[in-house]
């Protein structure tokens, strides 16, 4: 069985059930084009009456838009009554197809789901073939809103009793996504508020700095942040109630008090705690093996310089001064005897753990020791006992051990401290939610001050006055380019080419054989500048092929549309959109008449040069 229904069979099935006219949403432009090819030799021809009607309607549209006179799809449209409609086509073609569809001449239009929102014509039936769409390189599942947007095209008011959404599977389709989409409630929408450089400049042009916070607070973004903050505030209120039994006790801030006490106690505890692997004999010795203690080893005696735990095994270790002045490290287990004799010295934190004088003195004392020394009797306790209260009570300045509310504090501490931590976290989040937009605004202000568009008093500088008129993507890069006088040569085609590469944000591959030396060196400069600005603004794609394409269109007024399309692998519709976007960018540059008259003049001449052929014919 084929992985999905053949377009010819699809149309036949729809016609048989009177489900036409239909819009068939396919995954990609290519799928639409391939579907058209499938109709090349199909014997689904319309009756002559309808063919004629389509012919007449087409003639009327072509009269308005001559650019589609020779469109390769016209024979199929006329013979079979189906058409493709996607972003790869010229707008005039799409308008023509929409017009034919509205007049009821066509049986089916094959379109891409990506453009479901831009398709402004209904049909009796919508055919859905996939459950995911490509969003910037990745395929993501359709949202409920998107499924309903697509399915919503079915059923024309006044022309249909009912509309039909027909699902036909293709590989990788997930039926659950579609059934959920058809039967579910659309998702809630979230604000996507961003603060751009031109926004900051324009706001500061019209309003004093201190009013801006109030203006930002009016955004839907802040409204939604406030909603979240309010939720947190409710939680905070609930926490306050829960915290009531844990109010002030003997000390006002008993939680902190207990926390520090508890921490100190635990810390102390770990320091005294003996390692599990150590025998009771060894652990009983440990308190006596303090620095200065004289001990007997298997070979001779020594003085303990320090006691520590080995890093990996955590066994108790000693640093010992030997009679010949050597310093050795040995485990506590190797100590044979602990003598009832200590030497006084002050421990230092670094090798040899005492001052050099002391070291000499200790070595000397070690030599001088009598041959027999009394051995310290060490009692071994059989089990590890918890620390006696005496030790705990001896700890620092804590009133807790003797405090009457000690049992209560001990019992409540875990709950109370968890609640208090939650409180603090919520309070912090609320603050962040309330102030985040303002912080983002301030960040932008700082960058604009750094680049000299704003004064330190947040007034617009002369540069800022014109820069605020560039209200497009990559505005910082464009204004910096203008300030760096990158376009002063007055070369219209270079200006248009560079702006095209800034304007085009589509990563569909394209190719262009030759790029002029002037353009490629200028593009190199732009790329360098874009990279240096990348901490402040995402760099554009800066595709050389689109720059070269637009440069050629501007530089060579004799170049026809067909000729231009042959120069690249880009689809007609993409070239059109590229030029239209370039026009938009140029018109922003054109607005800089007062500060950059020659540049604005170049821009307006470039606009005139670009607007010819197909671009002139279309609105």
């Amino acid at each position: 069985m084929p992985p999905s229904i053949h377009p010819v069979d699809l149309i036949a099935a729809l016609r048989q059930r009177h489900l036409t006219p239909a819009i068939v949403f396919l995954t990609s432009r290519r799928a639409c084009d391939e579907a058209m090819e499938a109709f090349d030799h199909a014997d689904l021809v319309l009756p002559p009456v309808r063919q004629e009607a389509i012919g007449t309607a087409l003639e009327r549209v072509i009269a308005q838009y001559p650019s589609i006179t020779e469109h390769p799809l016209i024979p199929i449209v006329q013979r079979i009554g189906v058409a493709a409609h996607h972003a790869g086509h010229l707008p005039s073609w799409k308008i023509a197809i929409e017009e034919l569809m509205r007049q009821g001449h066509l049986d089916a239009v094959f379109a891409t789901t990506t453009l479901a929102a831009g398709v402004d014509f209904p049909a009796r039936t919508v055919v859905i073939t996939q459950s995911s769409i490509r969003k910037s390189r990745d395929f993501t599942d359709l949202t409920i809103g998107e499924v309903q947007q697509v399915a919503g095209r079915a059923g024309r008011r006044g022309k249909d009793h009912v509309g039909f959404a027909v699902i036909t599977p293709s590989p990788y389709i997930d039926l659950a996504v579609l059934t959920k989409g058809l039967t579910g409630q659309p998702e809630a929408i979230d604000s996507q508020f961003t603060i751009s450089y031109p926004m900051v400049l324009n706001l500061l042009k019209a309003h004093p700095h201190e009013q801006i916070q109030g203006i930002l607070a009016k955004s839907f973004a802040q409204f939604q942040l406030n909603q979240r903050a309010e939720l947190l505030e409710h939680k905070l209120d609930a926490l306050h109630v829960q915290m009531e039994p844990f109010g002030p006790r003997v000390c006002t801030d008993w939680i902190t008090q207990w926390q520090t006490f508890d921490h100190a106690r635990r810390h102390r505890h770990t320091r005294h705690q003996t390692h599990r692997s150590e025998s009771p004999e060894i652990s009983a010795r440990l308190p006596f093996l303090s620095p200065g203690r004289v001990v007997g080893l298997s070979r001779g005696r020594g003085i303990v310089l320090r006691q520590y735990r080995s890093k990996g095994q955590k066994t108790s270790m000693l640093t010992i001064l030997r009679p010949d002045g050597a310093v050795t490290e040995c485990p506590v287990t190797s100590v044979k005897e602990v003598y009832d004799r200590t030497c006084d010295f002050v421990e230092t934190p670094t090798y040899p753990w005492c001052s050099t004088d002391t070291f000499d003195r200790l070595s000397h004392q070690l030599e001088e020791l009598p041959s027999r020394l009394p051995v310290l009797p060490i009692l071994t306790s059989t089990s590890h006992e918890p620390l006696p209260d005496a030790i705990v009570q001896s700890m620092g300045d804590f009133p807790c051990p003797t405090c009457p509310s000690r049992p209560a504090c001990q019992k409540d501490f875990i709950t109370a401290s968890r609640l208090r931590q939650e409180q603090q976290r919520h309070a912090k989040s609320i603050q962040a939610l309330r102030a985040s937009l303002w912080h983002r605004f301030q960040e932008r202000v700082n960058v604009l001050q750094k680049f000299g568009y704003l004064t330190l008093a947040t007034q617009l500088t002369i540069e800022g006055e014109w820069a605020r008129l560039i209200r497009i993507d990559h505005s910082l890069l464009i204004t910096e380019l203008i300030r760096a006088e990158a376009f002063t040569g007055g070369d219209l085609s270079l200006l248009a080419g560079i702006l095209a590469s800034l304007a085009h944000d589509d990563d569909r591959p394209g190719a262009f054989p030759r790029i002029s030396a002037g353009l490629s060196s200028l593009l190199g400069q732009v790329r360098k500048l874009a990279e240096s600005l990348s901490p402040y603004e995402d760099p554009p794609l800066l595709r050389a092929d689109v720059a070269a394409l637009v440069e050629r269109w501007v530089a060579d007024p004799t170049l026809t549309w067909i000729g231009l399309c042959r120069l690249t692998t880009m689809a007609e519709g993409d070239i059109y959109r590229l030029l239209a976007r370039t026009l938009e960018f140029l018109s922003q540059v054109q607005a800089l008449k007062s500060m950059h008259p020659s540049l604005a003049e170049s821009a307006s001449r470039a606009i005139t040069l670009i607007r010819r052929g197909v671009l002139e014919e279309l609105p």
């Binding site: 069979d9 809103g145 006044g158 036909t168 019209a206």
Partner: protein, 351 residues
Amino acid sequence: MTTEELEQLLAQQPVALLHRLARGRVHRQFRAGKRRLIELLLQHSGHNRAGLESDLQTLIGERHAPSESGSPHIHRPPAIAHKKASPHRAEPESTETAVSLSAWLEGIGVPAPQPFIPDPWQTEALSAVSETDVVISVPTGSGKTYVAVEAARRAMEDNRTVIYTSPLKALSNTKYTEFSKTFGPDKVGILTGDRQENGQAPLLIMTTEILRNLLYDAASGEIDIRLDTLGLVILDESQYIADPERGVVWEETIIFCPSQAKLLLLSASIGNPQDIADWLTSIRSTACRLVRHSKRTVPLRAGYLHPNGKLTPLFRTVGIPYGHPNQLHPEAKRLFLEYEDETLPSGRQRR
């Protein structure tokens, strides 16, 4: 078991099971289709027929036993197959007979021309928009344009300027043509990034970006776009406020919209239109009115078309069972399962 019997038995099994069976027996089994897989399995069984048969029986047993029994499989059966095996209790309708294709197709065709009577929500929206801001959230194709046209007409009769914005230039152009037909070409103008026609007309169509720029210029006192006579701003497709790149433009436009001009936000069905309305109420001088409904003017039915050309209803009911995504028509379910078995390699799992 003879070879023919085994072959038949294998052919009855879903391809996923065959893939599991072929694991370790057939080289690169995941690349083979069902028929080829059976062939390869039979070839292989020359050496160890008994092992293959017993494995097959275990797998079949596992498949039929409900998966809750805790049989340790690596592959869980496809989600829908699972549902089929254990009838869901949550759905009372599942005992009812599913709708037939002919019943589903009934009523297809063109209604007799009727005099146009506005829906109650349209009347409600129109009467509200003369006094306050209005947010409309209704399904696609419900007739939002009618409200826009009527609201614009009433505002223009009051000598007020109207601005209509859409997110796409193509949509703006379509509306320009449409409105020019409705109101007469001298009443309608258009301003887009690269097109300016009839800029002094009382009804101006533009992209939302252009309106945002105009509002900024007006705020800094540079141009006069007759903001004092501006009576109505219609923002079509205002669910675009959630667009990652351009959504901010809608917010800016709404924030800076002069207070004497009423806002009319037209949106497709969204989940939280009340939030939008509450937001407008919180920043504008009058309380915003929300008009919403989820019922489509032309009812919608969903169908399933199998690649072999067989058409069935998608759901058990004639219309779409809102809120019950699992009420699939048994025939559609069966056909889709078949489709998945044929197309999904065994290693790939449905999510």
